[in-house]
């Protein structure tokens, strides 16, 4: 059993709270948020101890681990406080506003040997996990190119209202949406180290970009194209697709369906097209709120804190790599 507190009870925060609330190894000891509407509700109906002050919560609740789901601009400050008090941290994505902030936290977590994880949940999606396995096994031969895409209907009319429309606070399609796709490419192919060109386009927003299009390269000299647009109302919800080309085949995968083309038969797959669905690739979770991956990432974090699993998926270090690519893209603004 571990004691967990959460700071930032917005959309992701409340979702985490629900999954944590149903977790057999977790005791929720505190929730911190500045919104009275939310904390009053949680106090009244969830019987949770709520706070408006983060350090006060840590003093009183003494959690073993804390979930950080505040706007990105507060990540560095909040996470630093937690790490300094020897508290394990699960932070929402993107990690930090810049790599200087991120580096300090990576080093601090390492120095203190604390479990650290960032909420890039695609790594816990069955199809993407299988894509990674296929690539690392060499089944695709030499991977030479990728197309990574993500589309969804977040901003579909001219209106500004939250921190997501403030670039200095971590808003915008690049940090909020494209970060997911960049992180996925970094993990399943190889880290992106070069951004050859990028277009950051505003469609409905005045202050931030609504779309990011970029040409890039990874450490292994794999070339790639990134195409992300959060003003795409032909999608019902966020939809991420990767297309990866190698000398021995090709993969097209989204979160539901993985299509693999192979020039030659392998142990697991036949020559030509193979299709696998999420139904074949999903591991059972104990509690499902809105997709297995959200529970799976929390299970993984809890297991790491309890030393049942290594802490090597979605670490601060890996998330900082993603922040680094975001910085590279921003240079083309």
């Amino acid at each position: 059993m571990i004691k967990v507190a959460l700071v930032g009870a917005g959309k992701m925060g409340v979702s985490h709270l629900s999954i944590l609330g149903a977790h057999p190894d977790v005791e929720m000891v505190g929730v911190c948020d500045t919104s009275k509407i939310v904390t009053n509700f949680l106090e009244r109906y969830s019987k949770m101890d709520c706070y408006a002050d983060f350090t006060k919560m840590l003093d009183k609740a003494k959690p073993d681990a804390v979930f950080v789901a505040v706007p990105t601009k507060f990540h560095h400050q909040i996470i630093k406080i937690a790490l300094e008090r020897n508290i394990h941290v699960f932070a929402e994505k993107p990690f930090c506003l810049n790599t200087a902030e991120g580096k300090e936290l990576v080093d601090l977590a390492a120095k203190k040997s604390l479990v650290n994880q960032v909420g890039y949940h695609n790594k816990f999606v069955g199809t993407f996990k299988e894509v990674k396995r296929i690539i690392k096994s060499g089944m695709l031969g030499d991977v030479y190119h990728f197309v990574a895409e993500s589309y969804g209907p977040v901003v579909t009319k001219p209106k500004q209202s939250s921190w997501r429309s403030k670039p200095e606070e971590g808003g915008g399609c690049l940090m909020d949406y494209a970060s997911h796709v960049i992180d996925l490419v970094n993990d399943i192919i190889s880290p992106i180290t070069q951004v050859k060109g990028a277009t950051l386009k505003s469609i409905y927003s005045n202050t931030v970009e609504d779309a990011v299009y970029s040409v890039m390269n990874t450490t292994d000299n794999v070339s790639g194209i990134l195409s992300v647009n959060w003003s795409e109302e032909t999608y019902r919800k966020m939809s991420t697709t990767v297309t990866i080309l190698g000398s021995k085949g090709k993969i097209i995968s989204d979160a539901n369906e993985m299509k693999l083309y192979l020039k030659d038969e392998t142990k697991d797959y036949t020559k030509g097209w193979n299709v696998k669905y999420i139904t074949d690739l999903t591991d059972q979770v104990n509690f499902n709120l809105r997709g297995e991956e959200y529970s799976a990432q929390i299970d993984y974090f809890v297991d790491a804190v309890l030393k049942r699993k290594p802490n090597n998926v979605n670490t601060f270090q890996q998330a900082m790599q993603t922040d680094k690519v975001i910085e590279l893209i921003k240079q083309h603004r």
């Binding site: 409340v14 032909t234 369906e257 499902n288």
Partner: protein, 294 residues
Amino acid sequence: MDRILFGDNQFFAVNHISDEKSRAQSIQFKTDEAIMKTLNNAKNVGLNTFMCTTHDRIVAICDIIRKNPDEYSDYKIFPCMPYAHKYANAVTELGISGTIKQYVPGNVFGSILKGGMAIISKDYISLIELMIDAEMKMFKGINTPVIFLQNVITDLLLGLNCEEVLVAFCSHIKKKYNAEPGFITMNLPKLHEVLTRNGIENPIICSSINKVGFRMSGSIEAYEEVLRTKKGRFIAMQVLAGGAIPPEEAIEYICGLPNIESILFGASSQKNIESTMSYIHAFDEKQLTTAMAS
């Protein structure tokens, strides 16, 4: 409840295994006429209950049904609220209180906020009741004997241990709409335990139930145990597990389970509607014959 309920995923591009199929469906069902045509096809083969989310497009479907009372005199709609993506996208953009302000009718909430007064529990429940009423507006004059809470909200409340709110949903649905409350969930065993412990007996629960255990949280065995030993009116959905199981095999499994009152499925083509129905009828009959023989 009817043995077979017709679902709406196909109309709103919800496909659990393929984004490509989703797009093809949103093209096929671009017009209200296309949706009505499929609903009528289903009705003609005996599917008299349409279980649908409170999507904006259902407003027009309800208008058509209301305008043709003779044709739809026996027709029932089971509303499932809310249409979660509408709110999820709004929360991303406006935050939680911004979303409530946008979607709660009247100025109840505004006055609470402005006054800065402490929000007492009663206000939250009336807020929720107002949101239910807003979602139910489109069904005025239509027979809605069972009204469901969508799984995203059911499961969110379940994880947050907001048992009182689940009970409040039941009370409001019974009192105001004279209907049965129902719940959609991805966590059947846990929800059943919570509802019955809170005095909601014989609850109507719709959940994924299929031969491969897809979206059956905990384990397939835990679900089968509930069906075998607990009291409830259970509806099976995602019986084909998004197409992972061949229809005949999928339905043989479902019809062989105890205590499944209804089966929910959706399909775009007349051929698929008819074949799924004929499998259900065939395996139900087989069960009945076996039961009578023993």
